[in-house]
């Protein structure tokens, strides 16, 4: 069993323990699919090959559909869990693009997408088993439907990767390169997460220390109303 599958199996009870948690997880999947769609649309625009552009467009279309399916199910679960309407699950599905095609180049982009799809397949298979064992047929069925596309995506990206690379060795090097890059990115993200917390604490301290300034500002810069300069 791969590390991905083992981790997914280990975390299953935590991740899917309630409707609210499940809603959050599926909303996260919806955002990931939407972000992937943006990257694929960009790739379709930038690749010099019309046939690869067509492949990326078909893939992007699937990702849009997946985002909608995950988003819809997430909202159903959020309703069941009576999640507050201010929660992100209710927001339109919007993700940022990492512009991976620009950052990585087409060969590594393909390797990245292939690695991501393969990982998603492993995870989804574990989730399907978990849902089936607990009689959550609706969730199992959702993932089974999406898995059909994920298998196709993993297959075509692998085939394009080996077609585009100068040699099989070059394609494998690209796969290793993006795995290293992904690990480095995870490390940076963890660092950023930690730094954000430290920053928040530091800024709250600054805020408390700046409290006397508040009084000064109210005196020196009172609110204006009506026309200025009339």
């Amino acid at each position: 069993m791969s590390l991905t599958a083992a981790l997914a199996r280990l975390l299953n009870p935590l991740v899917w323990r309630s409707s609210a948690r499940s809603a959050l997880k599926l909303h996260g999947f919806a955002l990931a699919e939407h972000g992937s769609m943006l990257d694929l649309r960009l790739a379709a625009r930038l690749t010099p090959s019309p046939s690869r552009a067509a492949a990326y467009l078909r893939h992007a279309d699937d990702e849009t559909r997946h985002a909608q399916m995950f988003g819809k199910r997430a909202r159903q679960l959020a309703r069941e869990a009576a999640l507050a309407r201010s929660h992100a699950v209710w927001d339109p599905i919007r993700a940022d693009s990492e512009q991976l095609f620009v950052g990585l180049g087409e060969l590594d982009f393909l390797a990245f997408v292939h690695v991501g799809e393969a990982r998603a397949i492993e995870q989804f298979l574990v989730y399907v088993d978990y849902f089936e064992a607990r009689g959550r047929e609706r969730d199992a069925s959702l993932l089974r439907t999406i898995l059909v596309d994920e298998h196709r995506h993993a297959a075509y990206t692998r085939s394009l990767l080996f077609e585009l690379a100068a040699s099989e060795a070059e394609a494998r090097r690209a796969l290793r390169r993006v795995r290293r890059w992904e690990a480095w990115r995870s490390w940076l993200r963890a660092g950023r997460f930690l730094a954000e917390r430290v920053y928040m604490v530091a800024m709250l301290l600054v805020y408390v220390l700046a409290a006397p300034l508040g009084l000064l500002v109210r005196w020196a810069r009172p609110l204006t109303r009506g026309w200025r300069g009339s």
């Binding site: 599905i93 810069r221 204006t224």
Partner: protein, 572 residues
């Protein structure tokens, strides 16, 4: 003679605009390229695309100009955070991170991104850029200019006098009093996304009863309109001083009722939803009254016969129509990207004028974006195994499809500047049947049922279908016209609940491809008007490139797509 690139960014709807020798050559919103709706990111792609379209390199630029003064903005943010202690404790870390970590360095970032010496990167005041974006591309030699938005550096409303190539500041109303932020707060209260759902509020207003059940009196607590044209918000009802996201406080919910849950389906036969519509209608009336007061002040100060409007509030086409009717001006102009994107255009023009270039000619067309790559569209469509063919007369082909009641995605010419699809990246259909509107809504747009679709009509025929004439705003859909009841059979899909239509008048100069299509329709014995809505799915930016167009065709059930002289028809 100079090449000047204007940039707006970092709030919402970033954009780049290029002015060459005093003429606006190209202007692009970043969202069209990044495919992220209202993308606020520094528009480097849009800037590069502007340069590439004009055949320039970065070193050919004489200046890069930002639409805001970063340190003035920082000052306002800091003062507001300190003034509202301790309610700003949540906002403080985020605002500081965004200002100190990013926004105040924007001029350096632009210098680096476009390879310019720092001395060539300038900035102008936010509202001055807005005012410039309206006055300098209008046809008026002399105009009062009114800028109304959420907030710039300090001001939320400013009046200007534009004379020839000069723009003189007259007076302003400062943050936190703001019509834009009032509208934003009510947009959030109605359950719509701020900076995105404002059009929905305007559409919803037609379904409501202004002032119903004491709403006028309750709104008097939210905003007081003074006789001198100024206004003042009841700040205790709002939270924009301490909460950048929601904008309203618990007192507003106590006054108007609980906020509407986002995403819930609308049912006007339910009292609750009718109340929300009544609030939207009252808000629309208040905004119009406030703008009329501001217009009166502008008229008194300038004596001008013409009015230009800019800022996000100027995208309220209903209010613009009322200003044109009752504002006391002979003519009113609102350029198509009146919101923050337009600041890029104003910034570029202001710097070009300072460098000695002439004032640009009047904006005749909003087609200031990029064209599609037809050869690429052909090649990719073939790879997608779409039934694509080339035609000699794409306007007639499109007209025949529309006459046969098909829904047609129309991708011709350079894409539009601003939030409106004006025929270059549009979904077009017959305007007659209400069922067409429902079909478009169900299959593609999935909009709320109260939102109207707009018509595009041949300019000389406008009076045949609408009570009114073409004016400075109608080519850009920044105003509305009343639909003529005696032609309701031709306008079933494009007449709003209140009888208005956000009609676009089409001339050869403003949208030549759409003009040819409408002419072909008329030649075929049909009414020379179509339903025209933006070529995008829900939550997506409007299509820009050929790949975007083909991606749209794969995802959405339009009957046909025209990409320049290529036609793709979905088998029935």
């Amino acid at each position: 003679m100079a090449n000047v690139l204007g940039i707006s960014a970092h709030y919402h709807d970033a954009a780049a605009a290029l002015v060459v020798d005093g003429e606006v050559v190209v202007a692009i919103q970043q969202e069209r390229l990044s495919r992220i709706k209202n993308d606020p990111a520094l528009p480097l792609d849009a800037g590069d695309a502007c340069l590439a379209h004009a055949g320039l390199r970065a070193q050919d630029l004489d200046a890069v100009v930002f639409y805001e003064r970063p340190f003035d903005k920082l000052e306002r943010v800091m003062v507001n955070l300190m003034r509202n202690l301790p309610r700003t404790w949540r906002q403080f870390p985020r605002a500081m991170a965004s200002q100190l970590g990013d926004k105040i360095w924007v001029l350096d970032q632009l210098a680096e991104a476009f390879g310019q010496p720092r001395a060539k990167v300038h900035c102008f005041e936010h509202h001055r850029c807005h005012a410039a974006s309206a006055h300098f591309v209008s046809r008026f030699e002399d105009a009062a200019v009114l800028v109304v938005d959420g907030v710039g550096e300090h001001s939320s409303t400013t009046l200007w006098h534009g004379q020839g190539s000069t723009l003189r500041a007259l007076c302003s109303i400062d943050f936190p009093h703001s019509l834009g932020l009032l509208y934003a707060a009510l947009t959030a209260w109605l359950g719509f996304a701020v900076n995105e759902g404002e059009y929905k509020v305007m559409g919803l207003a037609a379904w409501g009863r202004p002032g119903h059940a004491g709403l006028h009196e309750r709104f008097e607590q939210l905003i007081r309109l003074d006789d001198d044209g100024s206004y003042e918000l009841g700040l205790e009802y709002f939270a924009h001083m301490s909460d950048a996201e929601l904008g309203f406080g618990p007192k507003l919910e106590a006054l108007l009722g609980p906020r509407r849950p986002p995403g819930r389906a609308w049912k006007f036969d339910e009292a609750k939803d009718q109340h929300y519509a009544d609030v939207a209608a009252t808000l629309q009336g208040v905004i119009e009254a406030a703008l009329l007061g501001l217009a009166r002040k502008a008229k008194a100060l300038t004596g001008s016969a013409n009015l230009c409007l800019a800022g996000g509030v100027a995208l309220n086409s209903l209010a613009n129509a009322r200003l044109a009717r009752e504002g006391g001006f002979e003519a009113v102009f609102v350029q198509p990207a009146a919101g923050d994107a337009g600041g890029a255009l104003g910034a570029a023009i202001l710097d070009a004028l300072e460098l000695g270039d002439p004032r640009p000619g009047p904006m005749m067309s909003a087609a200031l974006g990029l064209p599609v790559d037809v050869a690429r569209a052909w090649a990719v469509a073939r790879e997608l195994e779409l039934p694509i063919r080339r035609v000699d007369d794409p306007a007639s082909a499109a007209a025949q499809l529309i006459a046969a009641d098909k829904i047609v995605a129309h991708v011709r010419g350079r894409f539009e500047w601003g939030p409106r699809a004006l025929g270059q990246r549009s979904i077009l259909a017959r305007a007659a049947e209400r069922s067409t509107r429902e079909r478009i809504n169900r299959l593609i747009k999935q909009r709320e049922p109260f939102r109207p679709f707009a018509p595009a009509v041949l300019e000389p025929r406008v009076a045949a279908y609408f009570d009114g004439q073409a004016n400075d705003m109608t080519p850009f859909m920044t105003t509305v016209l009343p639909a003529r009841p005696d032609h309701s059979d031709a306008l079933g899909a494009v007449t709003h609940e209140d009888g208005s239509s956000r009609a676009q008048t089409v001339s050869v100069g403003s949208a030549p491809e759409l003009h040819a299509l409408l002419t072909a329709l008329e030649r075929g014995g049909h009414a020379p008007l179509v339903l025209n809505t933006s070529l995008n799915g829900p939550g997506e930016p409007i299509v820009a490139s050929s790949e975007d167009a083909l991606g749209f065709f794969l995802r959405h059930a339009v009957d046909a797509m025209i990409i320049e002289d290529l036609v793709i028809e979905r088998p029935s």
